[in-house]
């Protein structure tokens, strides 16, 4: 149903009754042949093999599948894979570098921002979209930005602290 190739610039050879799309995910260029009804979340998980993006409710409620498309947070269970043709996707796997955690990941570690961890990738990506737009959010702004993401373990207190920790770290690094 889905085949993902490394984009080598030449035309892929397979002749599928599917649609060919090109997209960038975490900096890597990809070509995929997708059936139009394939969801973005499934392209990411099964096609590209990045299983950090979690499928929780599958009904646009929980936000566990949140990724960034062109820098904006979206619920990847509620977008078709064909719609990222020509666009850029960021997932939780794109946060850390080979040697360093992203400040958001550090923040969740330092402030104990997760328990079971299921919602965490979505929380981090929603938080990344917030901090990219607003490097110095108030606690209320963090809560507002994460209000589309559900967590059943933490009661949110430590998640909010984690995001504020990351904001501090990012500001001190850039200032």
């Amino acid at each position: 149903m889905t085949i993902v190739y490394d984009d080598l610039g030449d035309e892929a050879t397979a002749d599928f009754p599917a649609r060919r799309i090109r997209f960038t995910i975490n900096g890597a260029k990809k070509v995929a042949e997708v059936e139009p009804r394939l969801l973005l979340a499934h392209l990411i998980r099964r096609g590209v093999g990045l299983t950090g993006t979690h499928m929780g409710c599958d009904t646009t409620n929980c936000g566990a599948c949140t990724v960034l498309v062109d820098g904006k947070a979206v619920k990847s269970c509620t977008m078709l894979a064909v719609q990222v043709d020509g666009h850029t996707v960021e997932t939780v796997e794109g946060l850390a570098t080979a040697s360093e955690l992203h400040p958001l990941q550090e923040g969740f570690k330092e402030e104990h921002g997760l328990q079971c961890g299921f919602c965490t990738p979505g929380m981090m990506m929603a938080a990344k979209a917030l901090l990219d737009a607003n490097p110095d959010p108030s606690e209320e702004e963090v809560r507002w930005a994460l209000s589309g993401n559900l967590c059943r373990c933490t009661g949110y207190q430590n998640i909010v602290k984690s995001v504020l920790w990351a904001a501090d770290k990012l500001r001190s690094a850039s200032g």
């Binding site: 649609r19 139009p36 009804r37 509620t78 078709l80 064909v82 929603a126 507002w144």
Partner: protein, 305 residues
């Protein structure tokens, strides 16, 4: 969950999109997809053809004409309206509603025009647009027509669009006085349907109401236009007595049902409370506050404990 199979087209122009729809068969137009995609996944919607309009340029605007008419394009997202610099001073009812639609992530994709087309009886924007006397502009093979929102929706999830028409724009007529009003939504948590939603839009001139619109969300089988309540405001100064009278009429127009979100009595009471609350802040001071205030964290939401 997967949608059933469909043919997908992503045209680059409205003319191309309309000619695809004109071919016939069961087709749906995809804008933000935040209602349509879930419906397709649940197989409540099983279109043969999906026409994705996201690649059509020039539909993501919201702007004011020289005469004060507000136009919202089919690809203007809820988030664009939430962050709008234009709305707080010019369209306080819309500015109040935008941050209360669904949740912040859904607002990045979903659109006002799409919400109106989806015609969910619990939709927030329908009430706002009914209160403002707004319209939908539909484009088909033979041209454009403008349909008042009150006539656009014919029933739950039903609208008057012909199979080969696309809703390209929502329109709010120019104000004749100073605009004021708001939208208040009682919801159990972010993203839930409104337990009660109240949209109030008034225009005042010299302390007198020159136009009023009140509409309700979530307290009947559809959006409820409170024409009697609005009529009680028109031509009057917004004294506590006039406000109370309009609030009573609005509460009387509600047809709430007791359900897991609350009792009918409670919902009716909240309609009254919200009308009073919005109108009591209306006037010169409230207008200035609306113009200066950013639609930021938790503005008008009333969340039940």
């Amino acid at each position: 969950m997967y949608p059933s199979r469909f043919r997908y087209e992503a045209p680059r122009s409205l003319a191309e999109a309309i000619s695809l729809l004109h071919e016939g068969g069961e087709a749906k137009v995809l804008a933000g997809g935040q209602s349509l995609v879930p419906l397709m996944k649940l197989r409540f919607a099983t279109p043969e053809l999906l026409v994705d309009i996201n690649n059509i340029g020039g539909l993501d605007y919201h702007r004011e004409d020289a005469d004060g008419t507000l136009r919202v394009g089919a690809l203007c997202r809820h988030a664009d309206l939430e962050r709008s610099a234009l709305l707080p001073g010019k369209q306080p009812t819309m500015a109040a509603a935008a941050p209360l639609i669904a949740d912040p992530i859904v607002r990045n994709r979903g659109t006002l025009v799409g919400s109106l087309c989806h015609a969910d009886p619990q939709g927030d924007w329908a009430s706002v647009m009914v209160a403002l006397g707004g319209s939908v502009v539909a484009q088909g093979p033979t041209g454009r027509r403008t349909i008042p929102v009150a006539d656009f929706v014919t029933g739950p999830f039903e609208n008057v669009l012909a199979p080969d028409e696309i809703a390209v724009e929502a329109v709010v007529p120019p104000h004749r006085g100073t605009p004021a009003g708001g939208y208040l939504k009682l919801e159990r948590r972010v993203g839930d349907f409104a337990t009660v939603g109240v949209a109030v839009a008034v225009e005042t001139s010299g302390g007198t109401v020159t136009r009023a619109g009140i509409a309700l969300t979530g307290v009947g089988g559809s959006t409820i236009a409170c024409t009697e309540a609005a009529g009680a405001l028109t031509g009057q100064a917004l004294t506590p007595q006039v406000i109370e009278q309009a609030a009573d009429l609005a509460a009387g127009a509600a047809k709430p049902r007791t359900d897991h979100r609350g009792s009918a009595e409670y919902k009716r009471h909240m309609v009254r409370t919200f009308v009073v609350r919005i109108l009591s802040r209306t006037g010169p001071a409230a207008g200035e506050q609306a113009a200066a205030g950013q639609p930021g964290p938790g503005p008008e939401a009333e969340r039940a404990a």
